[in-house]
Symmetry: C2
Subunit: 212 residues, 2 copies
DNA sequence: TAGATTGTTAATCGATTAACAATC
DNA sequence: TAGATTGTTAATCGATTAACAATC
């Protein structure tokens, strides 16, 4: 017999929540104390019912007529995303995309902490990129194992992605943020978030040509 | 009275199709002539019925028992995405993300052509980034209007995104690929593809903590 | 031929939206 | 108080999956 499984939160809900959080910080900067689902929905062109349904997945409790207490709502949303604590990651692959992520200013307040950076290119190993000293990818698994790093940001070329992922999974990686435009195969306990620029480009070109 | 509207293709379908296309190029490199939905599904860990349903939105016709003729299928998929012809874009904002996109090697075969690059920072205007000479953003609307550029790649900071989008829409931009993590408001005829890194990060952190 | 595969029609599943009682 | 808003339960909508006849 099994314990009752907590119902999985729908992916579309998870994806909307960071946009709510950004808005909540804005409202906070404006000195607001209470925020209703209607306030959020109006700003993001969503329906209030959808915002309420999403918020119900966090542990916030609203107050009829007033909405949600802003400070508590921010905390609740951050806990939901696990952004209230540090999420340590190693980044493998210092091509243009890897470099961009290393210098991306907006990862503050997400709890994402890139704690080490690796590459296989001897001409890059030992160099400094965005304040990180680039290590030899051969040393990455040891680093991950010793420090119990849960997350891998994978920004290597397509041909190198599966091999790199395999080595890091052996070292205990639990989740992979994959920017290489290729499917990587993992056992069910390792989660892969595929970031596919071409999927986005496809939606752009297909939809822009509609009726145009 | 209206003409019968062509049924809109579901966004999840559009997003999967570039991954099919990459795989088809691989099969082509291996010398294959016929590809079945099962071949594709096995490689991508999808169900064959889903691949067949997706392919039905392109203009390919398969052959029972054999599958799809590979060359025709590639053409059909590229036409579906409008990647068989040039998709001209201007890029505004040469921060880390903009630079990365300008140097991103994988945009070949997508029909995306960045034809000009602009920034508002005087220290960047006139400089060379990834082989592009950076123009003054003030000149961007004129360039877009004169050349009939349909697409805008928006990689400016959050605070500048709406204003930049507004100027470019006045100049006739039809679709916006927005990398700034903020909602931009557009009239219904201008399509926005929001590329939100934080949405992806949210899925990664939420799912990786599940049961872990 | 027999069996693998397509394309179509129907069933299922899951997310969004609506309705509404409770309430500060 | 009256009205705006929450949280819950039900209805709708759209995408995925199943079933199956047609067929090379």
């Amino acid at each position: 017999m099994e314990a009752a499984e907590a119902k999985k939160v729908p992916v579309p809900t998870i994806r909307r929540i960071p946009s709510y959080l950004r808005l909540l910080y804005q409202f906070q900067a404006e000195g607001r104390r209470w925020i209703s689902a209607t306030d959020i929905a109006d700003s993001l062109e969503l329906k209030p019912i959808q915002v309420r349904k999403d918020m119900a997945f966090t542990d916030i409790t609203g107050t009829p007529k007033k909405g949600y207490p802003l400070g508590e709502l921010i905390d609740s949303v951050r806990r939901f995303l696990h952004w209230e604590k540090l999420n340590q990651a190693v980044l493998v692959g210092t091509g243009v995309l890897g470099k961009a992520l290393l210098s991306y200013p907006a990862f503050l307040d997400t709890g994402l902490e890139i704690s080490a950076v690796f590459d296989s290119d001897p001409s890059k190993i030992g160099s400094d990129i965005g304040g990180f000293r680039v290590g030899d990818v051969a040393e990455a698994p040891g680093y991950v194992r010793e420090n119990g790093i849960p997350l891998l940001i994978l920004t290597v070329p397509v041909e190198a992605a599966q091999e790199a992922a395999d080595r890091m999974m052996e070292a205990g990686i639990r989740g992979i943020w994959n920017f290489a435009p290729v499917k990587i195969y993992t056992p069910p306990e390792v989660f892969v978030q595929q970031e596919d620029l071409f999927a986005g480009l496809a939606v752009l070109t297909e939809r822009t040509h509609q009726g145009g």
